[in-house]
Symmetry: none
Subunit: 252 residues, 2 copies
DNA sequence: GCATGTTTTGCCTGTTCATGCAAGAAACAG
DNA sequence: CTGTTTCTTGCATGAACAGGCAAAACATGC
């Protein structure tokens, strides 16, 4: 039984069942569970599955990848950031909200009694807002990317181009004073740029681990940030840099 | 039974029924109620449901109150219809799927190992398909209507106009041989008409209570229906009428 | 053939995680 | 108000886990 052979069989079962159990695979392949765990670890590293306790599941289930995988990490922090971020909202405003777990937390934190117009390309944000009776929700369609949880592409850009918003809640992947706001994906960055262009101000809420990091694709310069929502424990020196670029700092 | 698996099943039942009971889940999963409560707590923390005494309810019912009321109605029937309807699918096909609880059930019933391209204006359908790795998902954006759970309007129509599909799964509000397929909402009907125009064939899955009823807005004539999926208990006379108009009948 | 280095695998060790149980708190019903 | 159900918290146990180590299988060079 070749290693590669096992990998293929694991992929097959994942495609069919959506999940695999480490112990079951071990007995089926006639190898130790350690070997199976190693296989799963490698496949997970290659992004072909998502490792869970006891086995693995198919990667990027919407609510699972966007919310469990990443958000298992710092749920409380993001919830706190979200609460502080919605404090910036004024009734009657129109917003762009793009993807990311922090933005989903913000969407959930939006109170039920505030009237808003929200345009989003994130299914997570959209679904969080479906039960807000006073929120007029505009879904920005396009090609859906499971890894991002958002729609991107020409259709999305065209939809954004027809809209304008007072604020843009930008889900940031990297945030650095010198390099500005950056994203990991080209198409994603494109949509963010379009939203930034058509909005009156950018709001970014980030956990500490995003501060002073950068991703390949540039979205906007640091001077474009109007409001920056950060944790109380964020390094003051970094914050001072952003402040000198015109950003208003808000602590969660 | 993986923890993640239970979470997924809970999410599924919430999407289908709008609520879950802790005790019922415990016996169904074969675990203690404490474990289920822990699951529910975690999912609630991630914003995927709202915890209530005795169980949990959907936090953001894609289908608002009106829709979730209906969805509790005939869950088993709709699941059976959905299973029969997905039997019509062929790998590589492209589909339009619009809104409605039956269509959401169909989306959930789509197997994980079939390659498809799906364009939908329903957030419920879209979110059901986000964890299908082989499904290329195109979200048709626009103004979101909570009562329908779908996007409608000029933006949606424009997006539909740029696409074509082999089949159109039409969520029907009324179905009558003389009046054809009808909808309750003008904007909704408009989108359905556009999808019908750009698709190679219409598939309709309906419970008995929709048969031989009509709503104000006309979507398509009875002769436009290629496949009609119905319950075994559907009145044969009505079915014969549709059959004479060229529809192929499939029993769930 | 022999020696050497690499890869794969299984086993061991300490650690982490999921689970069920028990006890007290809170919510509900009558 | 009282009893019951449900919930949270803490804790103990066993399963699953990562990392280190050594043996076996394999390839490579002399």
């Amino acid at each position: 039984m070749l290693t590669e052979e096992r990998h293929q069989l694991i992929r097959n079962q994942l495609a069919a069942d959506g999940k695999v159990l480490a112990g079951e695979l071990a007995s089926r392949f006639g190898v130790s569970e350690d070997t199976v765990r190693r296989d799963l670890r490698e496949l997970a590293k290659a992004g072909q599955l998502r490792r869970v306790y006891g086995g693995a599941v198919a990667s990027a289930p919407f609510a699972a990848a966007t919310l469990s995988q990443r958000s298992g990490h710092a749920v409380e922090e993001k919830t706190r950031l979200a609460k502080a971020a919605v404090g910036l909202l004024v009734a009657g405003q129109s917003l762009f909200i793009d993807g990311g777990t922090t933005n989903e937390a913000i969407a959930r934190a939006i109170p039920r009694d505030i009237e808003l117009t929200v345009a989003t390309n994130s299914l997570g944000v959209a679904s969080a807002l479906t039960d807000r009776p006073l929120v007029k929700l505009i879904v920005l369609g396009g090609r859906y990317v499971p890894d991002l949880g958002t729609c991107v592409g020409a259709d999305t850009l065209a939809a954004v181009a027809q809209l304008g918003a007072d604020l843009f809640f930008l889900g940031s992947c990297g945030l650095d004073v010198a390099r500005g706001v950056t994203a990991f994906d080209s198409a994603e960055a494109e949509v963010k740029r379009a939203m930034a262009k058509n909005s009156g101000g950018i709001v970014i809420a980030v956990t500490n681990d995003k501060l002073a990091t950068a991703a390949p694709y540039r979205v906007a310069g640091a001077e474009a940030i109007r409001h920056l929502v950060v944790e109380k424990t964020a390094p003051p020196a970094t914050l001072a840099d952003f402040q000198s670029q015109g950003a208003q700092i808000h602590f969660a």
